[in-house]
Amino acid sequence: MTAVATALRPAPPARRAPAHRSRTNLIPTVILLVGALYCVLPVVWILIASTKTNGELFSTPPFEPTFHGGFVTNMRALFTYDNGIFYRWAINSVIYAVGGAALSTIVCGAAGYALGKYRFPGSVVLFRLIVAAVLLPQIMLAIPQFLLLAKFGMTNNYAAVLLPQLVSPFAIYLCKIYAEASVNDEVIEAARVDGATEWRIFLSIGARLLSPALVTVFLLQFIGIWNNFLLPYVMLNRDQLFPLTEGLYGLLIITGGQAAQYSIVIAGVLVSIVPLAILFLSLQRYWRVDLISGGVKA
């Protein structure tokens, strides 16, 4: 374990202050290092495991990659499995997560803006309802949602997975709070006096000023949908429609009994982690987490 830890240690921080002036605060640094290793090592291990053939998986030391072409074999097995259905799953995941998050951002952003910037009969009641709905366990609704859609024969298509996830009470709440605080009434008033329609004001002023909240909502919803396994699990039974998560799960079920197929699942796990992790870590700076905790004080 320690050998791996030292091997893994990243390049020393770029700006190292002169040692005599400020010594490293050891305790928090060590705690952070332990936390980082806990979070990263499993991913590193799966990377190593993906280089192994099934035989090697059970016989070689766990933290030692092998270089006998196992990686290529596994990847080939994964991508050619069932006529390359893995590609299909990946595309489906993008449709569900990116498409769903984008639509959801529009729906929730519009609703939040309306609640934050207009007062009309029922607006206060509606907002209270939304705050209450934040506490609803969304995932638990999946089975009732299925029962209702099944009644009308509307399961087993993209819409059955996309539509139920578009409204997020928390996202609406966040946009409302943000719109109130950052879309300046004087600006809106000035635009009105200049003859802009309410539409125009919403699209060219409101939406723009709201954009930090919208990016945050997009990412939250993206992760939410990407993570929601139960909904596609109940709604879909054609593997052509599966997202990655469900496809991989199915792969495990099929191969469940026989350890001979583990390496293909491991390869699938790796492929579904790495692109998203890179994307996510690079997007991290755009997402305003303070908005989420900021909601408490409001």
């Binding site: 990243p10 921080p13 490293t24 640094t29 705690i31 936390g35 980082a36 806990y38 979070c39 291990w45 495991a49 766990p62 729906v107 309306a114 609640l115 934050g116 910037k117 007062r119 009309f120 709905a133 506490l135 366990p137 969304q138 638990m140 089975i143 009732p144 029962l147 209702l148 539509l163 605080a181 950052s182 009434d185 004087e186 006096v193 003859g195 329609t197 539409w199 990407w226 993570n227 396994f229 109940v234 990655l244 998560t245 991989l248 799960y249 495990l252 350890a259 491991i266 796990v269 579904s272 982690i273 998203l276 996510f280 870590l281 991290q284 987490v289 303070d290 905790s293 909601g295 004080k297």
Partner: protein
């Protein structure tokens, strides 16, 4: 669409008199007021903007909920007729399904198992994410950038994939952490194993939320405490932690909502271990009712019960935590 569309410069129509009366010379305060005045402005736009959200909410939250409640009071009457060959019909069942759920010890066991995992997972998430956030904020801590990214990384991994990943780590045949000698799916250890996967996935996100809130606190307070001779540890525990109380409340409530909906982790571990049954947690049981034994009525009743229990628990926790957090702020 607003009626004031093409009139430029003219005062707004009568219904917006309130607004035109309140049009002020350009405000001299550069910051928007904390409490923004909302105007009564009769335009159809807000209704139009709200319509999709309201409609979707009615269709996919209210209607399914209502339908589930309806189903929960029904049952299937099989085979009328002499030979029992008539189509089964749906008949009113009263509270029968609820009685069945309450009387079923396995239902309560599944709730207990979920609570065990929550009791391990939620405090671990809160404690460690706060600990890491405080360490990130500590003076002269190193590796801060790396640690922040590394701890956040698992958040990008979907729960099912994370469970597959940990599943192989636990599995005796492939385990890199001694799964061959230690049983990660033992009658007790399985709860820790499941909780660990869940914690691994959400730790980073919660850490970033707490850290961001920490960075938003007034630094002067910490400096003042330092001048008064408080040690770094004292500042962290006595100054920073109490100020974080509202954020920690929020994080706890959200973690709790998440924990009470536990499904992905045990459901994904089920194929690789016998320690997890098909009714291991409530949601798995509802799934089994509805899809395996095909009793949607029982499933609907259990679903509705669970939603009520979860909302009640969340509201209670929210109230209690708010009280605690208010006290600690004083």
């Amino acid at each position: 669409m607003s009626a004031i569309g093409d009139r430029s410069g003219t005062p707004p129509p009568p219904q917006t008199l309130l607004d035109s009366a309140s049009v002020q010379p350009v405000s001299d305060s550069p910051e928007p007021p904390a409490r923004v005045r909302r105007r009564r402005h009769r335009s159809l736009l807000p209704l139009f903007l709200l319509a999709p959200a309201v409609l979707l909410f009615l269709l996919f939250t209210v209607a399914p909920g209502g339908y589930a409640i309806y189903l929960s009071f029904m049952r299937m009457k099989v085979g009328g007729g002499l030979l029992g060959d008539q189509n089964p019909t749906q008949v009113f069942a009263g509270l029968q399904n609820y009685h069945a759920a309450f009387a079923d010890s396995e239902f309560w066991h599944s709730i207990l198992r979920m609570l065990f995992v929550a009791v391990i997972g939620v405090p671990a998430t809160i404690v460690f994410s706060t600990l890491f956030a405080l360490c990130l904020d500590a003076k002269r801590a190193r590796l801060v950038g790396f640690a922040r990214l590394a701890i956040f990384l698992p958040y990008a991994v979907p729960g099912v994939v994370a469970t597959l990943l940990w599943g192989f780590i636990y599995l005796p045949a492939t385990s890199p952490i001694g799964g061959a000698t230690f049983d990660y799916f033992g009658s007790r250890s399985v709860f820790f194993s499941v909780a660990n996967v869940a914690v691994w996935g959400v730790l980073g996100f919660n850490m970033v939320v707490v850290y961001t809130s920490l960075r938003g606190l007034p630094r002067e307070l910490f400096e003042a405490a330092e001048i008064d001779g408080a040690s770094e540890l004292q500042i962290a525990l006595r100054v920073k932690l109490p100020l974080l109380a509202p954020t920690l409340t929020l994080v706890t409530v959200f973690s709790l909502i998440g924990a009470l909906q536990l499904f992905n982790e045990p459901n994904t571990l089920k194929p690789i271990t016998n320690a997890i049954s098909s009714t291991w947690v409530p949601l798995m049981r509802v799934y089994t009712d509805a899809f395996v034994t095909n009793d949607i009525y029982k499933g609907a009743a259990a679903s509705f019960l669970l939603i009520v229990l979860t909302v009640t628990a969340t509201v209670l926790a929210n109230a209690v935590l708010r009280r605690i957090s208010r006290r600690s702020e004083r």
